[in-house]
Amino acid sequence: MHRSLTIAVLLLLLVFPLAAKHWGQLFYVSFAARILIFALAATSLNLILGYGGMVSFGHAAFVGAGAYTVAILMAEGVRSAWVSWPLAVLVSAAFALVIGAISLRTRGVYFIMITLAFAQMMYYVFISMRAYGGEDGLNLASRSRLGFGVDLADDLVFYYVVLAIAASTLYLLHRLLNARFGQVIQAIRENEARMEAIGFPTYRYKLICFVIAGGVAGLAGALIANQNSFVSPNLLQWTQSGTLMLMVILGGVGYLYGGVLGALVFLVLEEVLSSYTIHWQLGVGVVLLIIVLYARQGLVGLIAALAQRRTAGG
């Protein structure tokens, strides 16, 4: 049932842009690409927050680092996606390694604060980088080049590339979570002291998890830079970290599709509500309140519980 649902959603995602194009509604294709990119970013946060139990409040820093890597390379004349996207992943992972190595020595609220502090430091570093736009941000001359006749400037093509990346990354994370590594980090979330006492170097595992999440966030950042053809320090602001966290909580902390559904619901809410009022965040807030009060496990958790009740009842 789980598998057939995944396949159905994947098919829908494959076919829908063709329909949208047919009726001349390419806007929705771009919007869907945006959702997929944020789904990727939110999922990477869910890996450390939901599965690893590390409440990081600075995740936007890694998204921003990835985005800036692509933009800066572009400004220096490197347009190939094959160079700049993997580099975006590596740069973000490297930042995650340094920030994680220090932050993971703390716990609880101190961990939240120190990750936030690091993210803010990076935010100001990018603001001060005059050569690359400083506060005003930096325009990309074009989207990255993939070669093989694939033109990312075409929104439909870009969408399919994003879909391929998001789907395969999600699959990799699914494998990771069910393999030894994923089981270890989930057990660390449950009882870190005991994991030490049965012989696991928990710090090392948490750090590796943090670095992987940072790398995936960097990949999402590379795609955001491409989609917007623009990067600015706003990408790294703490409110962006908050948005990612909201997405994860909305969708379901510790569920593989939590970040995906969270990104979808959040961005659709934003899109719909902001056409009525500039105070759209109020609406998002109300939805979040309802989730936190009545469906702690988020939307995926809610759906899973309902499905379970139906099977049990029938």
Partner: protein
């Protein structure tokens, strides 16, 4: 002369003005069940934390299996073969019994920095976990979620987690804590069964259990070992009687 598995030399720990472990000397021989007793506040918990690596020592040395481990971390000591159980049950409450034990088996089965092969396709790990479950008397309870086990069963799982690390020395910190007579009896039998396979350092308040199980007993008072010997010798030791057993000494 039996081989010394654990040797503690002049171990020291102070908290501000309070000396908790006072140049303590101590030895455990390979293969024995060594009980550590002492009145409340004698420093047993501090000593156990220093041995397991949860607490840094301020002085002295700990040698395990002829290696100095004084500054080794908790998880490194476990990998060398020194594992502990907890006085306050600390299991993975939301996981099944089998999953709990499997994690401890996993810890010593090569690197777990592996990202691809599903854990469910590593049946050897679960087979070993099942064997441990049988060893600690949890047959038929393997798929029960730990949090829903009875108190006594949780204590058995607690010992099982330490045992599953395949340690050569088990530190059992008050395994009978909070148990009724029936449960205690079962735990005594369980520990008696471990004697054949592993060296045990047992910290316990239940004197009946201690005198039935121990090959040797050490008495800790004010951060020092005041006597070590066979149960009969400890029972007869005047200093021990005065310092610890007092009026309620075992009959």
């Amino acid at each position: 002369m039996a081989e010394i598995l654990l040797r503690v030399e002049k171990l020291y720990k102070r908290f501000g003005g309070l000396v908790a472990t006072d140049r303590l000397d101590f030895e455990v021989e390979r293969g024995e069940l060594h009980a550590l007793i002492g009145p409340n506040g004698a420093g047993k918990t501090t000593f156990i934390h220093q041995l397991s690596g949860a607490l840094e020592s301020d002085g002295g040395r700990i040698l395990f299996d002829a290696q100095e481990i004084t500054t080794r971390s908790l998880h490194e000591r476990v990998r060398l073969g020194l594992a502990r159980s907890y006085q306050i049950t600390s299991v993975f409450r939301r996981f099944s019994v089998l999953h709990n034990l499997m994690l401890a088996v996993l810890a010593r089965s090569g690197s777990s920095v592996r990202f691809w092969r599903p854990l469910s396709q590593e049946p050897a790990l679960f087979d070993e976990a099942k064997a441990i479950a049988a060893r600690v008397g949890l047959v038929g309870r393997e798929h029960v979620i730990a949090a829903t086990l009875a108190h006594g069963e949780q204590r058995q799982l607690e010992v099982g987690l330490a045992l599953a690390t395949d340690a050569s020395l088990l530190l059992l910190d008050e395994p009978m804590a909070g148990m009724g007579p029936d449960e205690s009896q079962r735990m005594i039998e369980l520990i008696a069964g471990l004697k054949a396979v592993v060296t045990v350092l047992l910290v316990e308040h239940d004197m009946d259990a201690v005198f039935r199980l121990a090959d040797r007993i050490s008495v800790l008072v004010s951060g020092r070992i005041i006597a070590t010997g066979a149960p009969e010798a400890i029972r007869a030791n005047a200093e021990v009687k005065r310092a610890y057993l007092g009026d309620e000494g075992p009959a």
